[in-house]
Assembly symmetry: C2
Amino acid sequence: MSDKKQVEQITSMEEDFAQWYTDVVKKADLIDYTSVKGCMVFKPAGYAIWELIQKQMDERFKQCGVENVYLPMFIPESLLEKEKDHVEGFAPEVAWVTHGGLQPLQERMCVRPTSETLFCDFYKNEVHSYRDLPKVYNQWCSVVRWEKETRPFLRSREFLWQEGHTIHATFEEAEERTIQMLNLYADFCEQVLAIPVVKGRKTDKEKFAGAEATYTIEALMHDGKALQSGTSHNFGNGFAKAFDIQFTDKDNTLKYPYQTSWGTTTRLIGAIIMVHGDDNGLVLPPKVAPVQVVIVPIRQQQEGVLEKAEEIKSELAKAGIRVKIDDTDKSPGWKFAEAEMRGIPVRIEIGPKDIEAGKAVLARRDSGEKTECALDGIAEKVAGLLDTIQSDMLEKARARRDSQTYTAKTKEEFNQLFAEKSGFVRAMWCGDVECENEIKEKLSVTSRCMPFEQEEVSDVCVCCSRPAKKLVYWGRAY
Amino acid sequence: MSDKKQVEQITSMEEDFAQWYTDVVKKADLIDYTSVKGCMVFKPAGYAIWELIQKQMDERFKQCGVENVYLPMFIPESLLEKEKDHVEGFAPEVAWVTHGGLQPLQERMCVRPTSETLFCDFYKNEVHSYRDLPKVYNQWCSVVRWEKETRPFLRSREFLWQEGHTIHATFEEAEERTIQMLNLYADFCEQVLAIPVVKGRKTDKEKFAGAEATYTIEALMHDGKALQSGTSHNFGNGFAKAFDIQFTDKDNTLKYPYQTSWGTTTRLIGAIIMVHGDDNGLVLPPKVAPVQVVIVPIRQQQEGVLEKAEEIKSELAKAGIRVKIDDTDKSPGWKFAEAEMRGIPVRIEIGPKDIEAGKAVLARRDSGEKTECALDGIAEKVAGLLDTIQSDMLEKARARRDSQTYTAKTKEEFNQLFAEKSGFVRAMWCGDVECENEIKEKLSVTSRCMPFEQEEVSDVCVCCSRPAKKLVYWGRAY
């Protein structure tokens, strides 16, 4: 397509994956950089993806009894310090507010890096009896972590997220909620984002500061690197003890309640880009595509062409499809390339000859496939095509993920795989943090999770050769 | 109703309006206080109102071409300082971040009190040609202003809001958008919140820091005090000059573009409480009621009662009504009082006798009126009733507002009205800030706005008796 060169080329994935990512993020018009170092602007095309994620995830939350709340963005230092592991994990990377207006504050406050401590402070007022339990709360907000190295969506000083915080009468109920929300995330990634994930438990080394157990969903990017895409934590009653939250149970004795938290972030947008994107730019799964269909009129100045495009548009819109017409004065080739760059799942081409023949051309962004489609009943056809694309994208991503997932039985195999390949390596581990440290140091590889689906691929640890306890997914990670 | 005393009484409005407000806010379970001074927790019942406001306002935004974005929460000091009036207005009340992690920052940053400066910084990258204009952006976020005196929803150190920021090729287009958004706000308040407002322009004394013109919607609370409920600003090209934003126009010359901003906040929830509430608690307009209908089963232990309640619930839910059953073990009287406290628009009472007679009792929260309703077709009946309540609440609020709006022709009348009455006083003004200052000092009264609907109620200023220029709405304000 000769017009294609009119659209600025992006670096190819093969050549430089990191540069490809940056190019796509910029040229698909998702973000802009700002004067605020390490922070970014979500432009309309980027923020609209987040809105679609929010909407669909929030519906799922509400279906399982989650209620939304909003807590302050500031945490007084004394509150942050109450839980020992937690403050050690977060204090080095928070932003501190020291002045309000012209006055220094009596006590400095950090901008929330996460809100466990605030929720504890809140629950202390709210929870007195077993009748007050459980509370299943969530908030959509932004948080701040003072990262040194930042990358759009993947790691920035401020990011958008949701954080769920629940409190329960028993450990079992808290554990059940922890797993329930992890499953919700996994299902959401597969069904909405078309991203297959591995579900599992983090090792103690990798778990959240203050948690008893952290569960995670891990996705594999196009370059074979892992991305932690959502986590769910069971805190046991450690926070309750640190914050002295107690309730009178049915048996009339005072007990400490059990807590959980779980979160996903705008990092999911990074995952969408790196799982589905290609050398022509972004490829969006239909369920999170702000524009699902772009209609490109051919010879649009000819009588009847734009009118027909409008007709198709309103038919599609009526069927609940997010559709727009590109009637700018650019050439069709330019428009095609631009729509590809922005990842729009379906393009409809319609010109005078098509109209005469009572048909249009449908082009799929994911596969490049072009088919003809009768104008009569086009909305139904396109709706079906969007469903097909959604499920094909998941299958394609799953096939790639599987082809990049290896199994190592010995230390030698393990080291060789990471020397030659990129991807997940499934291998046994003895359970000792020393082995995790050694693997990280020598190979820059971390334990991603101990998958729920355990299997004994060998009987010795791939690091120390002592008896193995757990199957672990290992990988290099973002 | 003897059970009523079981529900903690709230202070009556007549006795102490401020205490009544605090009681309602707490006992309707909208908010909680926290360890963070001047900030509050939005509890589920409070946050759900904001979600309904957001959803319905955002739909209206999108219908008029607004696109959502998200900009950083931090503003470097040098950026805040670029527009002189703006920094003078805001610098005294911002929170300053001075440390990131363990390191002091090279340049301190404030947490955004509003984002004009960030949008300018962003637009400077985005706007180069007339083809790039207009941009009509909005963000939903929280902002921080270091207030000394705080009150839930009305004034807090952190609050939730939306801020629209647009940029245009001409002054006229900017002015048109400024007024368009003010009209959108006014319409939203009337149609969704059932709150009548006066639309007008702020005097120079009361306008936004950095604006050429500020327009406002002013509502009147139950106690006769005014509440500024939304504002829309035309900045001219002052910010563009301060930030050196220029574009090449069609005539190939460089020009400064024109900007606007417009915002509404969680303060609207305060307005709902103070316009519609009564001595039994909150009264929510159906369109922003998280629960629109509560079903209270009478003798719920008798066979068939809860089943019938469930049947009604699912019928109503199918009709798109937000409905719940109160099947707790409290007495019906307690449940009635609690539903009233929480402002639920319609209560359905259903007991064995009702079921036998094939009917239920519908009780309106706004008027207290009770009617019988056949179970057959109850969903349609209730949907109609919710519409009636919505429009009746607006009319009732309008009638009260009108009855508390006075006109003063002379200084004497003006002073006497504010000595004896609470409400809006319409009176003429010479245009001189000295008169505004004098009125504020002597009567604690401010100019709320110069209404769009001007009228000459007399020909002299009510302060200095010189020739009058403008009709002004005056009032004591929150």
